[in-house]
Amino acid sequence: MEENLVVRVENLSKKFTRNIKHTLIYGTIDVLKSMIGFKPNTAKLRRGEFWALKNINFDLKKGEVLGIIGENGSGKSTLLRLLTGIFPPDIGTVTIRGRIGALIAVGAGFNPHMSGYENIYLNGTILGATTSEIHDKIEEIVNFADIGEFIHAPVSTYSSGMRVRLGFSCAIHFTPEILLIDEVLSVGDLNFRQKCFRKIDEIRKDTSIIFISHNMNQVQRLCDRVIVMDHGEIIFDGETSKGVSHYLEINNQTSQQNSDSFLIVNETTESISKLNLELIDESGVAKASLNYLETLKILTSFESNVEMEEVLIAFVLYSSDGVAITKFGPEGATKIIKGINKFSIEVTQPFFLPGNYYIGFKWREKNNSVIADATTKSFRITQPKDYTVSVGLIDSKSVLTKH
């Protein structure tokens, strides 16, 4: 392996079974075969087995931050377990240079009856640190976790957030040469998450990181490069923004395929029926995605069997991870007639960056009772070919003036 590489994965495949009986039977066969010295043929699929990972190839350079993204069940966590050597490969090889540490499940081996302090020692040794290393860092770990007096209380008395804080603090302080982070940053409060990111920024100078997340903002913020996985295979390996956009594209396709209707209605009063909402283009035809900088136009309709004088109709546009971006809709209250109501609304100047979005709404009568509550499936604002990468959700233009 070249000097500047810390991870090399070649033709890696791993199979699993879906059925418990098969697991037991094949497990017994493989164990017995190994025990009597025969190599089980790992390269062949038996009945009921499937490739959880198939022909994976990639390298990780020293100091690089690699994102792995993909839908649930695409093989990301399995891949991490093969990288750490917890699971043996069925085909191919994994070569690792240096110590590898994984933030797969924070707080591995925590004993609920021991104090947080004692658990730092336990967890630290499980993560491969020596007692003297833990000794040197314990103060820093306690400070980082920032759970106050609770550090001397049994872990069973902790809130789930406190457990995560302590677990993460342990894991991040015993920094190995290669750090694997699996979805753990999605927990904890905002302050703590920001602190974690600062810590990651700090260690990334000396550490190569593989980062798994469903949060595309985090991925874009951290990663130099991404791999997109789908059904156990790598379908993209390259520049972060392109990878994210590729992933959102498939994500959107699946969401469209699964959909009967674009609008998911949570609740309506009895008087409202046939509630519908769609994105439309200039000529009023429904569409599944928008081009970057194209006007966001929606058409909504419903039937009401009563007349309502004053209804507050408003929509909220959300980013794919649930951040409310803007509210739009008619000013003041709207009158609803008995029979079919139809509105179209145009959001002018929509400088939303390429990505996935959805719309949600909760219409209320003047007395504040909800008459309709619904969200749409996500839709996509597509990325133009010559698009230069930008960060965030909104595009803004700025001017530099020298003084």
Partner: protein, 283 residues
């Protein structure tokens, strides 16, 4: 940056030579002594911390055990045969030695389970768990053993000075119980029925070992079972070293000890080549 390169490939452990697999395991255990200590502390000390009676639990079960055997013996339903010492201290001693063997077996059998919660999250040498399990069992045992010795003294039996050899004489019990248990810990993940069945079988072995009766019992069927049962010699030797100071059946004890050691070596190898195949099935 350290330059140690690790490579993972299919059936890797089967490609490791037998001798190097032993060396690797010993090195791993030495390297994980702090982990062993931490896990031991977690499971041993804390098991007693969250109970009102704490360490007294260690004493309660042997005492209840002796009382029930005394009761049975008093009713006359048992005919233990010729015993070198009184029935009560005899049963106390031999049953605690049986407990020692069973503890070696069951703690080894729980080797992989002892890592549940992090065994499929973090990479570490699993043989460390065997050491931790055995240490935990020995710590429990030494407390009950102390009670046994005190009870012997109460019955007027002063242990022979050869009791200092006790730790060596029980080694074969560890090799046999620990060895079989270790293999069972792997099999338990994929064929739990077999391990259960084996547990039932061991219940039978208890009665085929001179624990609640004399090794010289006259029943011919029992005699022939005793003769082929390795535990007769292993438990017998440990008992003799305390009570009489010389091992009765020393030739057979030595032969059985060698066989137990070989079984242990084979078990270690079997564990080494097969355990990584079951971790993914432990989720």
């Amino acid at each position: 940056m350290k330059n140690d390169v690790s490579v993972y490939e299919p059936n890797q452990r089967l490609k490791t030579g037998i001798l190097s697999s032993y060396i690797m395991m010993i090195r791993n255990i030495v390297a994980s002594r702090e982990l062993i200590y931490q896990l031991f502390r977690r499971d041993f000390v804390l098991a007693y911390k969250k109970s009102f009676l704490g360490f007294s639990w260690v004493l309660i079960s042997p005492i209840v055990g002796i009382l029930s055997w005394l009761l049975l013996n008093g009713t006359g339903v048992l005919n233990p045969g010729d015993l070198p010492i009184d029935f009560a201290p005899y049963v106390l001693l031999t049953s605690s030695l049986w407990g020692l063997f069973m503890g070696f077996y069951s703690s080894a059998q729980a080797t992989l389970d002892a890592g549940s919660g992090f065994i499929n999250q973090v990479k570490f040498p699993h043989e460390a768990l065997l050491v931790k399990q055995t240490a935990q069992h020995l710590a429990n045992f030494s407390l009950t053993f102390l009670v046994s010795v005190v009870t012997l003294l109460i019955f007027g039996i002063v242990p022979n000075i050869t009791i200092v050899l006790f730790p060596i004489v029980i080694l074969p019990l560890f090799f046999l119980g620990g060895g079989i248990g270790l293999v069972m810990s792997v099999i338990n993940v994929v064929t739990p029925d077999f391990v259960r069945f084996f547990g039932v079988f061991l219940g039978f072995v208890f009665y085929a070992t001179p624990i609640i009766y004399s090794p010289n019992i006259e029943n011919p069927l029992l005699q022939s079972l005793i003769q082929i049962n390795p535990l007769t010699y292993l438990i017998g030797a440990a008992r003799d070293i305390i009570v009489s100071g010389s091992i009765g059946n020393i030739d057979r004890f030595l032969a059985t000890s060698i066989v137990s050691f070989v079984i242990f070596l084979i078990s270690l190898r079997l564990f080494f080549v097969s355990e990584d195949k079951v971790i993914e099935r432990m989720i």
